[in-house]
């Protein structure tokens, strides 16, 4: 494999990892702060993609669609949290797995009823439809670069919010001890709602950014969901840094795997996960104590 080919795959891997990070960060936040395992997270990715397609068809501009779609996703997240997720806070893992599993089935049916079984392509906006040359032979599509930049921007923004704002402090406090936080008079429910809708929006954004790259099709949330679970396991539940690390690892491993060993690409990622678990049963940066 030539150097520029390796470089390209590396870039692809990092970019894929960044998208995975977007999805996984939402998942790990929801789990770390709310203590809820959310299988429907992949459905939000799918909904985001479908929204992006549907809105861009109506408005003719994908960027506009994303701008409108994001608050819509946050609102959807808020509704889901208030109506369904909130009832899981005191329940056990089985209840969480099954309720969110039911939500997945529901969202799938919803998607099918609204938009049918077809696969849809999404056009990148004209302003971002060029390519960036890399070396002599390779080029990088501008939309991919844009996606990567968005993910990085979100990552930085998340870090700032969580580390530097008062709300972020409440999030971190809620993550370690929700009861205590409530006893201090801080409305934990509000924190939970915001975190959940933020997580939903993150997954939705990833779907919207990915829509032109992967096309929009039923069940597209599934593989992303499983991979983001792998990322969260590798990185450690509740750790955004871990999600970033894990996403990079998985993104690069998967991309190189698909190129080098096409038949076993999926298996490679799981092998990496198994290896990490053997070494660190709580993930690379997971909680030190026996938590949830």
């Amino acid at each position: 494999m030539s150097f520029s080919l390796v470089a390209l795959q590396l870039i692809n891997g990092v970019e894929y990892g960044l998208l995975l990070f977007l999805v996984a960060s939402g998942l790990t936040l929801v789990f770390g702060v709310l203590g809820v395992l959310n299988f429907a997270h992949g459905s939000f990715y799918m909904l985001g993609a479908y929204l992006a397609w549907w809105l861009s068809e109506r408005t003719g501009n994908l960027l506009l669609a994303i701008l409108v779609g994001l608050p819509a996703m946050a609102l959807i997240g808020l509704l889901v949290e208030r109506l369904a997720i909130a009832r899981l806070y005191l329940r056990d893992h089985l209840a969480q797995v099954l309720l969110t599993y039911g939500l997945v089935l529901l969202f799938n049916e919803l998607q099918r009823a609204l938009w049918g079984n077809d696969v849809h392509g999404v056009a990148t906006p004209r302003s971002l439809s060029f390519t960036i040359p890399l070396g002599e032979a390779q080029t990088w599509p501008a939309w991919r670069a844009f996606t990567a930049l968005c993910c990085i921007a979100v990552a930085i923004a998340m870090r700032q919010v969580i580390l530097k704002t008062r709300f972020g402090m409440r999030v971190r406090a809620g993550a370690s001890n929700a009861e205590m936080v409530e006893a201090l008079g801080i409305d934990v429910r509000r924190v939970f709602s915001v975190v959940f809708s933020a997580g939903t929006a993150l997954a939705g954004l990833a779907g919207m950014l990915a829509a032109p790259l992967t096309t929009v099709y039923p069940g597209m949330g599934e593989s992303v969901l499983i991979l983001s679970f792998v990322v969260v396991v590798i990185g450690g539940i509740g750790s955004i840094k871990g999600a970033f690390l894990g996403a990079m690892l998985v993104g690069i491993a998967d991309t190189f795997g698909k190129v080098l060993l096409p038949g076993f690409a999926s298996a490679i990622v799981y092998a990496v996960m198994a290896a990490v678990l053997l070494w660190r049963p709580r993930g690379l940066l997971g909680p030190a104590f026996e938590g949830r």
């Binding site: 089985l94 209840a95 099954l98 089935l105 919803l110 396991v233 999926s266 997971g286 026996e290």
Partner: protein, 300 residues
């Protein structure tokens, strides 16, 4: 006592169907009973040990594929040969996956079992040599007649129930109960809990393998959809629906789900939404499942 009579009556009724010769019922109830075996074996993990595993369908599918493999490639048909091989395959897989997964606890464990089941799904789905997404036909089934397959399934169900009930009454079963209640305390009482969990995982996986073998026998066909997390999720649904930790409850849940799936398909195109609504309703409003209704307020 009343429960025992009801179970006995149910078992006899199911057994009597074998003589009916009715093609539809043999197939339908045969499939339903396979679901019962899956549900009860998963209950061992979920209801009695407190382990929510999403890998259960993996062992079901592996044994089914193993049958297709030894029959198609090695020409083995005799159930006396094929059954032990497939059972061993499922048990061995459960040992490996269990050992790796149990290094994780709590939610990590659930996620790891999910990842493993998906890995196996993709392995079978993406390999043309293993049948790909279309699946494989079993060249020659271990048992010819549908009635004979039915009887085998019925016998397996009864034996599985008796075996699990026995295990749960024994000292081993007490340990599982303790682990479910307070694993950390069990460790400080001197129990190496991971070992016990692994054994439960292997027993459950082996029984899932039995179900898979029987499924491949009944239909003569195996496909990757049997292996994925959706299938595992459905088995979990039957456990919750029937009432986890009761053993017979999940079997009831499996029967009920089989009926709902079958008739739901006829009623509406969006029957998946129906199942989804059912699942959500059960989680929110009937957490103890059917068994909870049957037992009334007796269970603490």
């Amino acid at each position: 006592m009343r429960r025992r009579i009801l179970l006995l009556a149910g078992a006899l009724a199911l057994g009597a169907v074998a003589f009916s010769g009715d093609r539809f019922w043999l197939q339908f109830l045969g499939k339903a009973m396979i679901g019962c075996i899956l549900a009860m074996s998963l209950d061992l993990l979920v209801g009695f040990t407190g382990l929510v595993s999403l890998a259960h369908s993996a062992f079901f599918g592996l044994a089914a594929y193993a049958l297709a493999g030894v029959t198609n490639r090695l020409g083995l048909v005799n159930p006396l040969l094929t059954f032990p091989v497939c059972l061993l395959a499922a048990a061995a897989a459960a040992l490996i996956i269990g050992w790796l997964s149990l290094r994780a606890t709590g939610v990590y464990f659930i996620m790891v079992t999910l990842a493993f089941t998906q890995m196996l799904f993709y392995l079978f789905n993406d390999s043309p040599a293993l049948g790909g997404s279309d699946g494989l036909y079993v060249a020659e089934r271990p048992v010819d007649s549908r009635a004979a397959a039915y009887v085998a399934i019925w016998a397996a169900l009864v034996l599985a129930y008796l075996l699990l009930a026995r295990i749960l009454r024994a000292p081993y079963g007490r340990v599982l109960e303790g682990i479910r209640g307070n694993e950390q305390r069990m460790r400080s009482l001197g129990y190496p809990t991971r070992r016990y969990k692994l054994v439960a995982f292997v027993i459950a996986g082996a029984l899932a393998g039995v179900a898979g073998y029987l499924d491949a026998t009944l239909y003569g066909f195996v496909n990757p959809a049997q292996l994925g997390w959706r299938q595992s999720g459905l088995i979990l649904v039957t456990v919750l629906l029937g009432g986890k930790g009761t053993l017979y409850g999940p079997a009831l849940g499996a029967l009920l789900l089989a009926f709902i799936e079958h008739y739901g398909e006829r009623v509406t195109e969006h029957w998946n939404a129906l199942i989804a609504a059912l699942i959500i309703a059960v989680v929110l409003f009937l957490p103890r499942g059917l068994a909870g209704l049957v037992e009334g307020g007796r269970r603490a």
